[in-house]
């Protein structure tokens, strides 16, 4: 459905330092598949999501939708965005403070000239859990709670009946009850309409709740991916193991040492080696700090980028 091949996105940095936010990624989202992209803050998740949508131009590599490479002409992009919708990380940033809820949700349908605007808007709001929808039509973003705003953004994306949804932390600002509702909604849209979704998150519980597949990103690269049960119950990469160890239900916390990762200074060898707990414990291999690892392919089976992993 949506596929990225050897994707790289760099930003010019201060004093000639370039930030390699996405540094070689292969990723595919199949029809009717929900993929969770997890990883710590700043590892490049949002940049990857924006690039998949054509909002950011890749430095190299390519994106294909249904086998056709993404073209950056205005017209092609418009058609593409009818099919592939984005739900942004921060509801405040993506809502115009001077537009009412109705106008915000009606914007997409208007651009694409959908008939029956009011029905489209009210059904989208209701599906996103804002019920009864009429109650919210004339409200402005500042007159809503944080979670209500996020649901308006989701309604805006649903209004176009997209084929693929790219959701960046879609429920981070939502409480437990609405969170469950929105995640059930995503599952239902997948089951009923065959919607595909890439859900960007740092919430492993969310991945467990809805994803078929999980891809773990570290410093611009995917370091482990595979079916959710395998990645989350039997993680192979030391970074994934550390990530899971911070969960409250985990018996033991793995504390990573070393500087927080910095995309302007990606370490040689395995990019995780300065913080790798196996290396710190003296169990690393010489190639950890010298030999770069291969970029993982976009397959659906389990894959790990680590010299010590067995699979």
């Amino acid at each position: 459905m949506l596929e990225a091949t050897d994707l790289r996105v760099e930003f010019p940095g201060r004093g000639g330092r370039r930030a390699r936010a996405v540094d070689g990624v292969n990723l595919s989202v199949g029809a009717g598949e929900i993929v969770a992209l997890v990883g710590e803050s700043g590892c490049g998740k949002t940049t990857l999501a924006r690039t998949l949508l054509g909002l950011e131009r890749p430095t190299s590599g390519r994106i294909a939708y249904d086998g056709t490479p993404l073209s950056y002409s205005g017209r092609a992009l418009r058609a593409f965005r009818r099919q592939v919708q984005l739900v942004l990380q921060d509801p405040m940033g993506s809502l115009n403070p001077r537009h009412t809820v109705y106008e915000a949700v009606a914007e997409g349908p208007r651009i694409h000239g959908l008939p029956d605007e009011e029905t489209v808007v009210s059904s989208a709001l209701a599906r996103a859990g804002l019920r009864p929808p009429e109650r919210f039509f004339q409200r402005f973003p500042h007159e809503l709670s944080g979670g209500q705003r996020q649901r308006v953004v989701i309604a805006g994306a649903l209004a176009l009946d997209p084929k693929v949804l790219i959701a960046d932390e879609p429920v981070a600002s939502l409480d437990a009850s609405v969170r469950g509702e929105i995640l059930s909604l995503l599952l239902r849209l997948r089951d009923d309409l065959g919607l595909s979704a890439l859900v960007v998150t740092h919430d492993l519980g969310l991945a467990w709740n809805i994803a078929d597949r999980v891809a773990v990103m570290y410093l611009g690269r995917i370091v482990e991916s595979g079916p959710t049960e395998e990645v989350l119950k039997n993680p192979q990469h030391p970074y994934t193991q550390a990530l899971l160890s911070v969960l409250p239900e985990s018996p033991e916390r793995i504390v990573l040492t070393g500087e927080p990762p910095d995309p302007t200074r990606i370490p040689a060898g395995c990019r995780f080696h300065p913080r790798c707990q196996l290396v710190a414990a003296g169990n690393g291999k010489p190639e950890c700090s010298t030999q770069p690892l291969q970029i993982l392919p976009a397959g659906t089976d389990s894959q790990v980028a680590c010299y010590l992993a067995t699979t």
Partner: protein, 314 residues
């Protein structure tokens, strides 16, 4: 330190009034960390904003807010401004978007220090480095502009700004929602340390009970503008709503929650049309017939706990 007495907040809209907070009474001692939980729209942010009189004009505030013995709602503007930078600071929900897009973040963190003459130029620069390190950002990030940071990095900048002037009370509204678990654990450790080392008081707002329980001594749960339960974070909740809230976060590896996200049945209450009786009754899994008509006030349930439910007694 902080005392709320029957605090209420009503938003006046053209069409109608929205009673967002309906009589909240709470106390927060010096050096104590209190967590405020509740679903979206229950009024948590409205409480936080009311504490420092940061609500929009359309909001009518009732009740009393005492901060260190002073009545905040009656304070003169000059005094209020002094309080806002010296004794209490707030990390707003979604405030990362409030960062000035054309100013380097180091300068934004240093600004209050310079304006209030807490530090000279070089001292301020050193303090900025220290604050950035506390929130896990390298010193060179001081020269970055907001758009060059990820969402979580911007949120950490906001926390650094709140810490800049060494406040006695920190009000943190969803301070870690955009942070991944590792950074979250790091920020929460930092917050715990500040409480322990400097006797800072904390009012932390989140919808994630496990985050609150990690940092706070006591937890308060809000529903439809009121508190429904207050008690020590080390004990199990007893109110049906608090229990539902706690159950909604899945355990990774638990087959029961695999491809089955759990929420709370029913619609969140409309503050303009609150149900009679216990406001939670239309969604309560264990409601009695009487719940539809008789409203239950907060009452003692055990030594340190209060709850508002007929089924939760002594």
């Amino acid at each position: 330190m902080l005392e709320l007495d029957e605090l209420s907040v009503t938003y006046r809209l053209d069409s109608a009034d929205v009673p967002a907070v309906r009589g909240v009474s709470l106390e927060l001692a010096a050096g104590e960390a209190l967590g405020l939980a509740g679903e979206s729209g229950s009024g948590k942010s409205s409480v936080a904003l009311a504490l420092l009189r940061l609500l929009p004009r359309s909001a009518v505030v009732g009740g009393r807010v005492m901060l260190d013995g002073e009545d905040v709602l009656a304070m003169k503007w000059g005094r209020l401004r002094a309080v806002r930078w010296s004794s209490a600071s707030i990390v707003f929900q979604g405030a990362q978007h409030g960062l000035n897009p054309v100013q380097r973040i180091g300068d934004q963190i240093a600004e209050p220090l310079l304006v209030h003459r807490q530090a000279s130029g070089t001292d301020a620069a050193a303090r900025v480095r220290e604050l950035l390190a506390q929130v896990g950002l390298p010193a060179w990030r001081a020269r970055s502009y907001p758009h060059e940071l990820s969402g979580g990095q911007r949120q950490r900048v906001m926390i650094a700004m709140a810490l800049a002037c060494g406040p006695q009370l920190i009000i943190a509204d969803e301070p870690t929602t955009a942070l991944d678990l590792m950074v979250q654990a790091q920020v929460l450790t930092l917050i715990r340390q500040l409480i322990a080392d400097h006797g800072i008081s904390l009012l932390m707002i989140s919808h994630d009970l496990s985050v609150l329980a990690d940092v706070c001594d006591r937890l308060a749960v809000m529903y439809a503008g009121r508190l429904v339960e207050v008690g020590p974070s080390s004990e199990e909740f007893r109110h049906p709503y608090s229990q539902a809230l706690a159950a909604a976060f899945p355990t990774v590896g638990d087959p029961a929650s695999r491809l089955a996200p759990r929420g709370l049945a029913g619609d969140p209450p409309d503050p303009q049309q609150l149900p009679g009786g216990c406001a939670f009754h239309p969604r309560c899994p264990v409601a009695l017939d009487s719940c539809a008509t008789s409203d239950v006030q907060l009452r003692a349930s055990g030594t340190d706990r209060t709850a508002a439910c007929v089924l939760v007694g002594e």
